[in-house]
C-alpha cells in the first residue's frame, strides 16, 4: 500500500479510471473500477475468464463505451472519445492483422491514416521492424506468410507505429506455445524498458503478470480485488482468491485458536481467519508450526521437488523443496513445519 502510493506519486498519472462500469443488458461485466496509472508503468490486469478483463481493456481502448464512470488521459476526459481519436493502441488477442496486406502495409497502417508520406512511412516501418527484431526482408512479405511469433512481432510493430501514449495488450500471447511465449514475455518487458511507454497488459496467467509487470491488478467478476506490486500481491494477498490465483498455496482455516486441519494451536497473534502458507515455506523439520504429514505424491520440477502432503485429518498440503528429496517417498510420513512470520493472514 505505501509502496504503491509512493510509486504513484513518482510520476504523473497518464490514465485515470474513475468508477468505470460496463453493463451488457442485466449483467455487469465491469463494476466500478478505479485505477490511476502513472506514466511509463507496466500494469497487468489479471483475472480468470469471465472476470471482465477483456471488457475493461476494450473500454480503455475506446471500443466499448462505459455505462458509467469516467476515463481521463492526462487529466482530460476521454470517456466519449472514439477509438480512432484516442492516442492509444491495442494489440488484439487475435492480433487482427490485415491478412490482405504485406507486413510493411500492416505496420504503416496508422501512419497512412494520418496521411504520412510513403517514404517517411517506410523509413519508420523499417525502424519498427528492427525494434521488434525482424529483418528488413519482412517488409515486402505478406503477413499470411509469417509464423506465429513473427505475426506477434508485426502486431506489436503495427501498434507502436501509431506512436501511442499507451499500449494495451489483450492476451496476445495466449495462443502461443510455451517456449516462444517465455521469449516474447522477456522481449516485451525489454521493449517496455527501452521505449518507456505505458503498457496495460491483460492476461489470465498470474505467472505472466509476475514476470513482466510493475503493478498487478486482480479482477474477479468485474470487481477490482487488489492492486499492487508483484511482491505485494505474492506476500500480502488480500483474500484467498488472490492467494490461490497465484499458483499452489496452502490455506489453513482458524477455529477457536487452532488450525483444525493439522490439529495445532494457531499463533496467538493470528491476524485473520485464514493463514496462507506458500509451498516453499512449508518445509521438512521442526518450525514454529510443525505437524506430521504423509507424502501422497512426489513431482520433480527440475531444480525443485513438489511434495503433495496429507495431514492426519486428511487435508491436502503442498510443499516445495530444493533438490531431489530422495527421502520423501510416497507413503512415508515426515514432520513438516512453517514459521509464523511467513504466514499471510486474510479474512475472506
Amino acid at each position: 500500500m505505501t509502496a504503491e502510493a509512493a510509486r504513484a506519486t513518482d510520476r504523473p498519472v497518464i490514465l485515470s479510471l474513475a468508477g468505470l462500469s460496463k453493463k451488457f443488458g442485466d449483467t455487469s461485466a465491469v463494476k466500478q473500477v478505479s485505477i490511476d496509472i502513472p506514466e511509463g508503468e507496466f500494469l497487468t490486469i489479471v483475472g480468470p475468464s469471465g472476470s471482465g478483463k477483456s471488457t475493461l481493456v476494450r473500454l480503455l481502448a475506446g471500443l466499448e463505451t462505459p455505462t458509467s464512470g469516467t476515463l481521463k488521459l492526462r487529466g482530460k476526459d476521454i470517456t466519449a472519445v472514439p477509438a480512432n481519436r484516442r492516442p492509444t493502441a491495442l494489440v488484439f488477442q487475435s492480433l487482427a492483422l490485415f491478412d490482405h496486406r504485406t507486413v510493411g502495409q500492416n505496420i504503416e497502417f496508422a501512419m497512412k491514416m494520418k496521411g504520412v508520406p510513403a517514404d517517411k512511412r517506410k523509413a519508420r516501418a523499417l525502424e519498427l521492424l528492427a525494434l521488434v527484431r525482424l529483418s528488413d526482408s519482412y517488409y515486402e512479405r505478406p503477413v499470411t506468410h509469417c509464423s506465429g511469433g513473427e505475426r506477434q512481432r508485426v502486431a506489436l510493430a503495427r501498434a507502436f507505429a501509431s506512436d501511442p501514449e499507451i499500449l494495451f495488450f489483450d492476451e496476445p500471447l495466449s495462443a502461443i506455445d510455451y517456449r516462444l511465449r517465455k521469449t516474447l514475455e522477456v522481449e516485451l518487458k525489454e521493449l517496455h524498458q527501452r521505449t518507456g511507454r505505458t503498457f496495460v497488459y491483460i492476461t489470465h496467467s498470474l505467472e505472466e503478470a509476475m514476470i513482466m509487470s510493475d503493478r498487478i491488478a486482480i479482477l474477479k467478476d468485474g470487481d477490482l480485488i487488489q492492486i499492487g506490486t508483484p511482491a505485494e500481491i505474492y506476500r500480502q494477498p488480500r483474500d484467498r482468491f488472490v492467494a490461490s490465483f497465484m499458483g499452489e498455496v496452502n490455506i489453513l482455516g482458524v477455529e477457536d485458536g487452532t488450525f483444525p486441519d493439522i490439529g495445532h494451536p494457531a499463533p496467538g497473534d493470528a491476524a485473520g481467519a485464514y493463514a496462507i502458507v506458500r509451498p516453499e515455506d512449508l518445509l521438512p523439520g521442526s518450525r514454529d508450526v510443525t505437524a506430521e504429514y504423509a507424502v501422497t505424491q512426489r513431482l520433480m520440477l527440475g531444480s525443485r521437488t513438489q511434495l503433495h502432503l496429507a495431514s492426519p485429518s486428511g487435508a491436502s498440503f503442498v510443499s516445495e523443496i530444493a533438490g531431489e528429496a530422495e527421502a520423501f517417498e510416497v507413503g512415508t510420513s515426515h514432520a513438516f513445519g512453517f514459521d509464523t512470520d511467513r504466514i499471510a493472514w486474510v479474512d475472506r
Binding site: 471500443l63 480512432n84 492509444t88 488484439f92 487475435s94 497502417f109 497512412k112 491514416m113
Partner: protein, 282 residues
C-alpha cells in the same frame, strides 16, 4: 484402384455431354453462321467476314453501347444500394436478417415479365398506381418515366438487385469484426475503414455480384421492351430482330459472337483475379 477404373469420368460424362450439346454446339453453329454470306440459311464452307464489317458500318455499335452502358450503370447502382444493405443485414439485423433476406429473395421466384408488367402498371401516367394514388390522395399530378431509357434502367436495377445483394452479403460476412476494430483503433475513420479493410475483404463477394449483374444486364431485353418502350434499342433486341423479322441469321450470329467476345473480354480478367477459395473458406 487403377486410374482406368476411376469412376470420375463416368460421373462427369452426363454434364460433359450436356455441355457439349447445349453449350459448345450452339456456340459453334452460331460462330459458323456468322461467317456465312448475308441472309443464307445453310452452313457452307464459303466463309466471309462481311457480316462483321457490316455490323460495325451499319451502326450496331450504338445498341451495343446502350447495352454496355445499361449494364455498367445497373452494376454500379446495385452495388451502391446493396453495400449498405448487406452491412446492415449482416451486422445489425440480427434475427430479422433471414426474414428480410427471404423477402428480398422472394421476387426471384416470380417470372421476370410478370414483375416488369407490374412495374409498368405502377409507373403508368394518370391512372397508374403511383401517379393515380398521388393524384387521388394528395391531388399531386406527376408525369411518368414509362417508355423511356430511365424506366428501363429502373427496371434493370429492380430485377438485378438480388443478384448483387446475396453475393455481397456473403462477401461482407467474410470481414472479421476485429479487423474493423483494429483499423478504428489505429486511427481510421469510417470512410478509411471501408476503403482499407471492408472493401478489400469483401471484394470476392462484390466481384461475383458485379459479374452476375453485368452479364445478366448485357443479355437483358425485357426491361427495355416492357418499361423502356423501345425508346432505345439494346443489342439483344437488335439480335432478336435480325434473327426474327429480318431473317438475316448470319448477321444476328455475327452480333451474337461480338457480344460474347466483348463479355469475355470484360469478365475473364475479373474472374482470373477472383479467389474462390476465400469465399468457400477453403
Amino acid at each position: 484402384m487403377t486410374r482406368a477404373g476411376s469412376p470420375g469420368p463416368w460421373f462427369a460424362a452426363p454434364v460433359a455431354i450436356f455441355m457439349l450439346l447445349c453449350f459448345a454446339g450452339p456456340i459453334l453453329i452460331v460462330t459458323w453462321f456468322s461467317l456465312m454470306p448475308g441472309r443464307t440459311f445453310e452452313l457452307t464452307t464459303a466463309f466471309t467476314l462481311e457480316n462483321y464489317v457490316a455490323a460495325i458500318s451499319d451502326g450496331y455499335a450504338r445498341p451495343m453501347m446502350w447495352s454496355l452502358l445499361g449494364a455498367a450503370i445497373t452494376t454500379i447502382v446495385t452495388a451502391l444500394l446493396a453495400w449498405p444493405s448487406a452491412i446492415i443485414l449482416h451486422r445489425y439485423a440480427g434475427r430479422w436478417a433471414s426474414l428480410v433476406s427471404a423477402l428480398i429473395a422472394l421476387p426471384i421466384f416470380i417470372s421476370e415479365s410478370v414483375r416488369l408488367f407490374g412495374m409498368s402498371v405502377f409507373m403508368m401516367p394518370r391512372g397508374g398506381i403511383l401517379a393515380g394514388s398521388l393524384n387521388a390522395a394528395f391531388g399531386i399530378e406527376i408525369g411518368s418515366i414509362l417508355n423511356t431509357w430511365n424506366a428501363a434502367l429502373v427496371g434493370m436495377i429492380y430485377i438485378h438487385l438480388p443478384f448483387m445483394l446475396f453475393p455481397l452479403l456473403l462477401g461482407v460476412s467474410l470481414i472479421p469484426a476485429d479487423r474493423i476494430e483494429a483499423a478504428r483503433d489505429l486511427g481510421a475513420n469510417r470512410w478509411q475503414v471501408m476503403r482499407e479493410v471492408e472493401l478489400p475483404l469483401a471484394a470476392p463477394g462484390l466481384m461475383i455480384g458485379a459479374l452476375l449483374t453485368f452479364v445478366l444486364c448485357l443479355g437483358a431485353n425485357a426491361e427495355a421492351a416492357i418499361l423502356g418502350g423501345r425508346a432505345v434499342t439494346v443489342i439483344t433486341a437488335a439480335i432478336e430482330q435480325r434473327f426474327n423479322y429480318a431473317q438475316d441469321w448470319p448477321m444476328g450470329a455475327a452480333l451474337t459472337v461480338g457480344v460474347i467476345a466483348i463479355t469475355a473480354a470484360i469478365v475473364l480478367p475479373v474472374l482470373s483475379r477472383l479467389d474462390l477459395n476465400r469465399l468457400t473458406k477453403r
